[in-house]
Structure formats: C-alpha cells, structure tokens
C-alpha cells in the first residue's frame, strides 16, 4: 500500500502545451509519488508522447500554461540537460542513431554528468567499464555494444535495451518510458520489463507510456491513466488497463459521449 506521507516526485498541474503552434495538451494533471508505477495509455495522437517530451524539455514543445514541479522545483525554466542531471529520465520511443560517437564514451559522459550533480566522483574509463558491464547484465546486453556507435545499426530491441541501460546508469528519480514495449518480441519484452522491475527503487518512480496491456502483465502499475485529446480522462488501478484491453478504446469514446451528454 502506498503511504500518503511519501514524497511527491512529479506534480503536473493544468498543463497546456503546443508544438508548431498547435496546442496538443489541453490541461494535464498528474501526481507521482516515490515508489509508484504509473501507466499512461491512450490512442496514437492522444498526447502521451508530447507529455513525455514536455517533461524532458524538448525545445520544439512550448508550455503555454500550467506547471511542472519535480521534487518541489519548477523545472520549466531548466534546459533538458539540467533536468536529466537532477534525475528526470526519458526513455525514447525511437532512440536516435549517432554515427561516429562511441556508445561507451557517450554512456560515460552521461553518467558522469549525473554523478557530478550528485556530488559523486567522476569515473575514468576503467572504472566506468566495470560499472557499465555490471549494469549491462540487468538487460542481458552484450558488452560488444559498447564498442559501437550510439544505437547505430542496433535492432529495435537492442535500442530499447540500450535505453534501459542508460536508465540503470543514470539512476534517475523518475523514469518516463515512452512505448518502451513497441517493436519488441516477447523475449525482448520480458528482458526489458524485468530490467525495469529490477531498477525500481522505493525512492524513485516510473511512468510507463504504452498502448498495450502486455507490458503491464510484466510490470504491475499502481495507477493507470487514460489519455485522450491531450487530457487524462480517467484514472484507475491495474483493472482499468484490463478493462481497456477487453473493450478497446471504444469505451473511451462512450465515456466521452456520456460526459458530453452531462455537459
């Protein structure tokens, strides 16, 4: 059972945001406390990915009104790198390839920038190799991937494992995993899900953005939110996801109709 005294990690209030002058989020409210796992579900275009990019600070997305607080700090003025350093992690739906940049070096620079923020000593190449090899075991990744360029030529599943590896190294307070399950076969899904479970800490929280119930069979959420038209329209427990799986998104439409009728 979640204790009401536990600390709030993320608090989003009446968030409106746009991309290319088009408003996508129309007033999102969300409260995430430590130790919690939240799932956000919804159709394509409902604003799930936009929400994740706005939290991480993507420069193309503009916040029109509302607030995002992380551990009591307003983060809207912070650059993406500053948000990352204080412990906000975004696992990308489509991790980009960066040719010529060594994965090992990238992971090391990223890890050290977080460690610096936590006033931990920076790791040299040798120390870091030990750490990264140990963390790679969590997602059953072959150390050969360290020698390659960031995500270059990785399969869909390898890219997602590389994302979870980054999460394992950065030890964030909140991880927002944007469709981490998409494009994974069942084995890869299990590996990734078990990685996420192993990394869960009482002092951190996770937001899973997903279309499907199948990830939630592996990771049990404390809360399930359904997003439509840039808003969270329904919040429940894991049963909500199961209902959704059974009746499909039509029930959102029915839900909306009900609302409209009430209005």
């Amino acid at each position: 059972m979640i204790q009401s005294t536990s600390e709030t990690i993320l608090s989003i209030k009446d968030l409106h945001a746009s991309v290319e002058d088009q408003e996508i989020l129309h007033g999102v409210n969300l409260l995430v406390k430590e130790g919690e796992i939240h799932a956000i579900m919804g159709r394509n275009g409902s604003g799930k990915s936009t929400l994740s990019k706005v939290i991480a600070g993507h420069p193309s997305y503009k916040v029109l009104s509302g607030s995002i607080q992380f551990k009591g700090i307003n983060i809207l003025e912070l650059a993406p790198e500053e948000r990352a350093r204080i412990g906000i992690f975004l696992g990308f739906q489509y991790p980009v390839e960066i040719p010529g940049v060594s994965n090992l070096e990238f992971l090391r620079v990223a890890t050290n920038s977080r460690r610096k923020e936590l006033l931990q000593s920076e790791l040299d190449t040798f120390e870091f190799e030990d750490l990264v090899k140990e963390r790679m075991k969590i997602v059953e990744m072959d150390p050969a991937f360290l020698e390659r360029s960031v995500n270059e030529g990785f399969s869909g599943g390898e890219k997602k494992r590389n994302e979870i590896l980054q999460m394992a190294l950065l030890e964030p307070f909140i991880s927002i995993l944007d469709e981490t399950d998409s494009g994974l076969d069942i084995d890869a899904l299990r590996i990734v899900a078990s990685g996420i479970n192993k990394l869960a800490q009482p002092s951190s929280a996770t937001i899973l953005i997903t279309h499907y119930q199948r990830l939630l069979d592996e990771i049990t959420p404390d809360f399930v939110h359904i997003m439509a038209d840039g808003k969270i329209i329904k919040t429940g427990n894991k049963e909500l996801a199961i209902d959704l799986e059974k009746s499909g998104y039509d029930f959102i439409d029915n839900n909306k109709k009900d609302k409209e009728m009430v209005n």
Partner: protein, 480 residues
C-alpha cells in the same frame, strides 16, 4: 535565441594563436625580381644547380597567370608588395638549442610545441620553422643512428645536394601551376626527410610552421623520400598571428615512395582565418603531391583544415607502381567568411592500384566549403579501384557546401565508387544527448566529432586527440 544561432555561436571561437613575437627580424626589401632570387640563394649558400632551378621556375612563373577557375573570390595579391625572405636575427642555423633565441623557444612553447630537451615530446621529433627559416630540429642525432635524415631543407641542400638534385621538382615540376612555380623560385625553408632502405622511422616526425611577420609570404618546401621498404609518419602544424592584411602561404610538398615503402602525411592547419567580418587571414595556396613510384608502396594524406581565409589544396597521389595505394582523409571546417576548396587527385597509372578518399566538410557562418577531387584511371591501370566518400555538414542557413567529383576512366577493368551526403546538425540527436545530461556545447562538439570520426581514426595516435581538441576549441564559446 534560436537553436541555429547558438550552434553558430559555439562554432565562432576566438583565435588562440594570434599573438605576435617581438623579435628583431632581418628582412630583404619588398618585391620580386631575379636579383631577389639570387639574394635568397646567396643567403643560403646554395649550390649553383639550385640557383638555376629557382631562376628557371621564375622564368616560367612570369609567363603564367594566377588561376581563377575555382570561382573563389579574394582580393588579388600584389606580388611586388611582399617580402620574400624574413628571418629572426641570429646566425641562420645554431648548433644547439641553447643558442636559439629564448623568445623563439618561448613562442613555440606558447603554441604547445616545447623544443627544449627537458620539455620536448618524448616520441616526436620536431622541426620548428619561424617565418622563412627553420630554427631548430629535435632528435636529429637519435634519428641519424637509424640512418634517418630529418632536417631543414636549407641544411639538406648543403649537406645532401645529391638527394635534393635527384628528387626535388620531380613530383611537382617547376611549371606545374602558378603557385608551385612561385614557390620553386623563392622557397625559403621547410623540412627534409630521408628514410633509407628497410628502415621504419623510430618516431613520429613533425614540422611546425609559424608565420610571424605580417607582410612576408611564406613559401615552404618539403621533400620526403622513403626508399624501398621504408616507412614514416609525418605531421605538420601551422599557425599565424592576427593581421588585418592577407598573408600569402604557397607551399610545395613532394613525397616519393619506392617499392614497398609507405609515407603517412598528416596536417593540422590552423592559420589565422581572418576576423568575423572576413578581414585579414592567410591565403593558403598549396601544392601537395606524392608519387608512389615503387610497387606496393603507399601514400596516405590526412588533413584537418580549420584555418586560413582562403584555402586551395589538393594533396594528390600519382599511383605509378603496380599495386600501390593512395589515401586521402580530410576534415575541413570553415566559419565566417572562410573559403576552402580542397580535395585530392588520385591518378591511377599502375596495375591493381587502389585509392580511397574520405572527405568531411563542415561549414558554418557564411563560409564556402567545397570538395573538389579527381579520380583518373589510365588505360594501363587494369584492376584499379577507387572508393570516395564526401560528406558535408551545414551549420546555420548561410553557409554553403559543394562537391565536385571528377572521374575519368580509360580502363574498363576498373572499379570506381562514389558516395556523397549533406546533413545538418539534427535537433533530435542534440536533444537525445542533452536529455542524458550532456550540455548543449558538448553535445554539438560530440556530434561534430562523430561526423569526423572516420578521419580521426586515420590520424596518428599522438595527434588524433590534438586534432579533436582543435575542433573542440573552434567550437568552444558562450552559449546564450
């Protein structure tokens, strides 16, 4: 502030080597005529054959016209308004470093090239050239034990006239082009390397060229010979103070490899590029050519070009020996009003000759950055192969990048591949790196290093990080 503006700001980095050394200089009067050439030759106590070489070149030069084919515009050079010989006042060549003016040693130390015995690099021999003369060469004795000659070209002319007469002007003929002819007439100093048969040069060799005087043309001449089965890796570096006038640098580099020999020639060019309005900077009009005379010999050019107002430079390979190999790896970074027209020529003459070209151009500001290259396969070059890859990266929307690959094949049994691409720094890549806690500046720098990594991998170990640092320096700056 938009993303593009900030990237541009990062690329704009003040030039760190723009200081001038206050030193008494001996200069001959401005202007060029036969007497000036005789005077230069006399100052260097040159043998008669070399004076004749210079005079023949001068005669050819008078008949030639300054080229204008590349479409680059620049204010014309007044050849009568240049000084053709400038040297720090001291005896031309000192026996030991202790006798070199401390100001000169200090200058090179400031440039990151310590020459004194205590501080010099442990695995790199350096020839330091200041304006028209070489002031010191380190590790000469140690190299001599292996039969390797590494000295200034002026010394080589006196000590080994046989080698000079045999090789100089055989790769780049005196009438090759306007600037090569001018160089052949007035060249002042440069480096000479001779690696005898069967010797693998025990350390990296390096020349560092420093232009100090504002009105002096620099015409250095470098000649590297690797005899049968010999090999050497050589690096040149260049910087100059900031002047608001343009200074001419017209060098000639000749390389020769005999059977099974190899030369790796790397350049880190960081001449003063002019200010952000395009005033001042070096005109870098250079002829570099290597001839793989021997079978299975190899010449590899790698260059990191970040400086100069205008650059014309096409390090080339004449692949004469059967199964010889030519390589060209280039990074050219231009900013503000810099113009670079650089590339290579791979001339396949022997059978089964191979060449590889990898060029990376990065253009920012209002600069123009062009790759211009020729791959030519002669009728006898059966089985010749070439692979070319030319990638351009644009920063901002005012810079331009062009690729001019010329291909001439007269041999049906040959194989030529060419790939080209143009890209911009992608916002998604930047955001990805930033979202992992890496700051904007470092992210840009990482992306550019990544773009150039194919070429960095080809630089000698000692210099790869130096070159990376140089690019990073150019990219360093305030993010607003």
């Amino acid at each position: 502030m938009t993303q593009t503006n900030t990237v541009e700001e990062i690329v704009a980095q003040p030039y760190k080597y723009g200081f001038t050394t206050e030193i008494e200089t001996e200069k001959i009067p401005k202007g060029l005529n036969e007497d000036v050439i005789r005077l230069i030759s006399a100052k260097k106590n040159e043998p008669d054959f070399l004076l004749k070489f210079r005079l023949r070149a001068y005669e050819q030069w008078l008949k030639m016209k300054e080229p204008d084919w590349s479409g680059l515009t620049y204010s014309k050079v007044d050849y009568q308004d240049l000084v053709y010989y400038a040297a720090p006042k001291q005896d031309i060549k000192k026996k030991s470093l202790d006798e070199v003016d401390p100001k000169l040693l200090e200058t090179f130390e400031k440039l990151g090239i310590p020459l004194s015995e205590q501080k010099r690099l442990s695995n790199v021999a350096v020839d330091a050239v200041f304006d028209s003369v070489s002031i010191a060469t380190t590790y000469k004795e140690k190299l001599a034990e292996h039969g390797v000659i590494f000295c200034s070209i002026s010394e080589a002319i006196i000590e080994r006239p046989d080698l000079i007469e045999k090789y100089m002007g055989t790769v780049v003929p005196i009438n090759d082009n306007f600037f090569a002819a001018l160089n052949s007439a007035v060249f002042s100093d440069g480096s000479f390397v001779f690696i005898p048969k069967g010797v693998e040069c025990p350390m990296e060799l390096s020349s560092y060229f420093r232009i100090n005087s504002g009105d002096t043309g620099q015409f250095e001449r470098t000649l590297i010979i690797a005899e049968e089965s010999a090999s050497v890796s050589y690096l040149e570096g260049c910087t100059a103070p900031m002047f608001d006038t343009n200074t001419l640098h017209a060098a000639v580099v000749e390389l020769v490899t005999l059977d099974d020999a190899s030369i790796k020639y790397s350049t880190v060019q960081n001449w003063y590029a002019g200010n952000e309005k395009g005033v001042g900077g070096i005109y870098n009009f250079v002829t570099k050519r290597g001839e793989c005379r021997g079978k299975r010999s190899k010449i590899s050019w790698s260059q990191v070009e970040t400086g100069s107002a205008v650059t014309w430079k096409y390090p080339s390979c004449l692949l004469q020996g059967d199964s010889s190999i030519g390589e060209f790896y280039s990074i050219a970074l231009t900013n503000n009003f810099q113009k670079a027209d650089t590339g290579t020529k791979m001339i396949h003459i022997g059978k089964n000759t191979k060449s590889k070209i990898v060029s990376k151009g990065i253009s920012a500001g209002q600069s123009k950055n062009s790759y211009r290259g020729l791959v030519s396969i002669s009728p006898n070059a059966e089985g010749a192969r070439n692979y070319s890859q030319c990638d351009s990266m644009l920063i901002g929307d005012k810079a331009s990048a062009n690729t001019y690959p010329y291909i001439q094949s007269k041999q049906p049994q040959s194989n030529i591949e060419h790939e080209a691409s143009t890209c911009r720094i992608s916002e998604d890549q930047l955001f990805y790196l930033q979202s992992r806690g890496i700051d904007f500046e470092e992210s840009v720098s990482m992306l550019i290093s990544g773009f150039c990594s194919d070429v960095f991998n080809e630089l000698p170990m000692e210099f790869a990080s130096e070159a990376d640092k140089l690019l990073a320096l150019k990219l360093e700056g305030s993010v607003g």
